[in-house]
């Protein structure tokens, strides 16, 4: 099987004043197509740094990183912007939607930075993307007219619209209540079932158990990597929740 993400001996140092912080001290990670990987660890363990490097938002100090077969460890700022635009979809904890901008326009945004996609195709793909997350009837709504779960769905639609090789989610359920986070997780599982590769940073164990593999960081090292054996399915977990009083 082909590794979409192939990281070897990755190190990342930050210089804060005169102190050097070793955020990553040599990590190896391979992620294959169709995987749904949970990245876990306490804060300061290096998981966010890893996600930033995987997302080409940051460059490693040492080590190699092949994304979809391309070496992206030493590329320029502009090249990394292009890689992000074509190959990566981000989902953030706080949604990061543009305010006073409709759901449809928010989803269109990544394609605006791709000059080879014309307005008509952009619109069609954004509509398809919103349909895929179940928001076909909310396209014209502004973020402040949507619930938290709906806003995160818009953000997921935005991460899908450029058909990325990997979706990176940074605590994407962190701001949501249990029911809504299961609903969002159910959506991620469905996307994964359709073949999307997803890397998901979380520190909630029940959320991590919805995925196929977990990677645990501590002090800049990967200390544990394991397949999830008794995988949970979010759709069933919702049914198990007590019925809320209307």
């Amino acid at each position: 099987m082909k590794a979409i993400i192939d990281i070897k001996a990755l190190k990342k140092d930050y210089h804060v004043g005169e102190v050097t912080v070793h955020a990553l001290r040599g990590a190896d990670l391979k992620i294959y197509k169709g995987e749904f990987v949970a990245i876990m660890g306490a804060s300061g363990s290096g998981k966010s740094t890893m996600l930033n490097i995987i997302g080409c938002l940051d460059r490693p100090t040492e080590g190699t990183y092949l994304l979809d077969g391309v070496d992206v460890a030493r590329i320029s700022r502009n090249e990394s912007a292009m890689i992000r635009n074509l190959k990566i979809g981000f989902v953030f904890q706080s949604y990061n939607l543009l305010s006073r901008t409709s759901a449809l326009e928010n989803v269109e945004l990544p394609l605006m930075y791709n000059p080879s996609i014309k307005a008509k195709e952009r619109r069609e793909r954004a509509i398809a993307s919103l349909e895929a997350v179940g928001l076909a009837d909310r396209m014209g709504h502004m973020p402040n007219q949507l619930s938290g779960g709906q806003q995160q769905r818009v953000a997921i639609a935005r991460s899908l619209v450029n058909d990325p090789v990997v979706i990176l989610a940074d605590e994407a359920t962190g701001n949501l209540d249990t029911r809504t986070s299961y609903e969002i997780m159910s959506l991620f599982q469905e996307l994964n079932r359709k073949g999307k590769t997803i890397v998901f940073v979380t520190h909630e164990p029940d959320i991590a158990r919805c995925m196929t593999r977990s990677v645990v960081f501590r002090d800049g090292h990967i200390i544990k990597e394991e397949e999830i054996i008794s995988r949970l399915y979010a759709a069933e977990m919702i049914k198990a929740l007590p019925v809320e009083a209307e």
Binding site: N52, R77, N78, R84, N85, F90, Y113, N162
Partner: protein
């Protein structure tokens, strides 16, 4: 991102904050409108003064008696009796840059017709006098050469004198008016000139042959001034030096003696007067320019606030593939749009304000296209200049920090 999308994004961003965008533009609007209006007012007042000076005569020069020394006593210019008709004749004969010459004598007094009377000034001149002073005859005829030299008791009256003595709009040609008890036959009426720039009524005059005024009214042989026309405005200076040469000779002035006369030209007068309005225009324009600058600083301020406020948006745009240059252009275009839209509104407002000033002052105010183009160019430059630093700051943000910004 291509330019069309960038402009769309910038317009959307401005629309999201309509009130703030408008207030930011207001600085530019007021600045541009005031630059255009001030320059138009300056141009208008200058033109109005030039028109008034042109109405005084055509390429006119005039000689007045100057200071003179008599037996060691410095005399004032008004008592001088050195200018004579002979001087005028000599100028006419010898100065080729001068095309018309007329002696001028004047006296104030009461003009009487029937039981009406009116205080006015009588000017004595030759048949050339009207031409030099740009007077037109609207009814009747000019003084002839033989009347001018033969002390004929004829005269032309200005519109004000005609109105006061004969009634509003009446044509008094052929009537006889008495001035200092001398009866003058009115042979014509002068065209209206209106007030000059000092507020004097230029139509309150009677013009008669200089010989008549000299002999019958003033009983003197000297004249008060000599009025002349240069061939063209360009030859005004040449005419001036020719006249000076002739008069120094006829007045038998020695090398070391100062002129006992003074030559003034319409050119000089015009330059003096317009230089005043030019200074005024520069002053007004500079003040307006400063307000435009303040408007630009307002844009910079708001753009800085906007960059800080939208740090997360910048981070997001970078994370989904926006390059630094895309972010830079987005903010730069926003500030250019602010200043250019503001500039366009300001130009319209400037036209409106100029029209109002024109209606209130009756100056011939015209908005100079130069100032419109200038204002527009300055606006675009302000947009680029004051937008550059905030946009630069936005584009150099680190996407990770920007995304985490609270």
């Amino acid at each position: 991102m291509n330019l069309g999308n960038l402009i769309k994004v910038a317009i959307n961003a401005l629309k999201r904050n309509k009130m703030r965008s408008f207030l930011t533009m207001l600085g530019i609007i007021i600045g541009v409108a005031s630059v255009i209006t001030m320059l138009a007012i300056g141009q208008g007042s200058r033109k109005s003064i030039q028109d008034q000076i042109a109405s005084m005569g055509s390429n006119m020069l005039f000689v007045m008696p100057g200071n003179m020394r008599m037996g060691g006593v410095q005399q004032g210019s008004s008592v001088s009796q050195r200018l004579t008709v002979k001087d005028a004749d000599a100028i006419a004969a010898e100065c080729d840059a001068v095309i018309a010459v007329s002696p001028e004598v004047r006296s104030s007094g009461q003009a009487v017709y029937g039981n009406s009377n009116w205080p006015t000034t009588i000017y004595g001149g030759s048949d050339k006098y009207l031409e030099i002073r740009s007077w037109k005859v609207v009814s009747g005829r000019n003084i002839t050469d033989s009347e001018a030299n033969g002390s004929a008791k004829v005269c032309l009256v200005g519109r004000t004198v005609a109105d006061e003595l004969f009634g509003e709009g009446v044509d008094p040609t052929g009537e006889t008016v008495r001035f200092r008890n001398i009866p003058f036959k009115i042979i014509g009426v002068l065209g209206e000139k209106g007030q000059n720039s000092f507020g004097q009524d230029q139509d309150d005059v009677i013009i008669a042959p200089y010989t008549t005024v000299q002999k019958r009214i003033l009983a003197q042989t000297h004249i008060q001034s000599i009025q002349m026309s240069a061939r063209s405005a360009e030859e005004s200076a040449l005419a001036q030096s020719q006249v000076e040469e002739v008069l120094r000779r006829t007045h038998k002035l020695r090398e070391e003696e100062n002129n006992d006369f003074e030559i003034r030209s319409q050119e000089e007068l015009s330059t003096t007067m317009t230089s005043v309005t030019e200074i005024l225009t520069i002053l007004l324009g500079a003040i307006a320019g400063i307000s435009l600058l303040v408007g630009g600083i307002g844009i910079m301020n708001i753009m800085y606030v906007s960059v800080t406020e939208r740090t997360r948006e910048i981070g997001l745009r970078m994370s989904i593939g926006g390059r630094s240059v895309d972010i830079l252009l987005q903010f730069l275009i926003e500030s250019i749009l602010l200043s250019v839209f503001g500039g366009l509104i300001g130009i319209l407002l400037g036209f409106g304000a100029s029209a109002i000033v024109e209606a209130l002052t009756s100056w011939p105010i015209s908005v100079m296209w130069g100032s419109v183009i200038l204002a527009f160019a300055v606006c675009t430059m302000i947009g680029v200049f004051f937008g550059w630093y905030p946009a630069r700051r936005a584009s150099s943000l680190d996407p990770i920090d920007a995304l985490r910004f609270e």
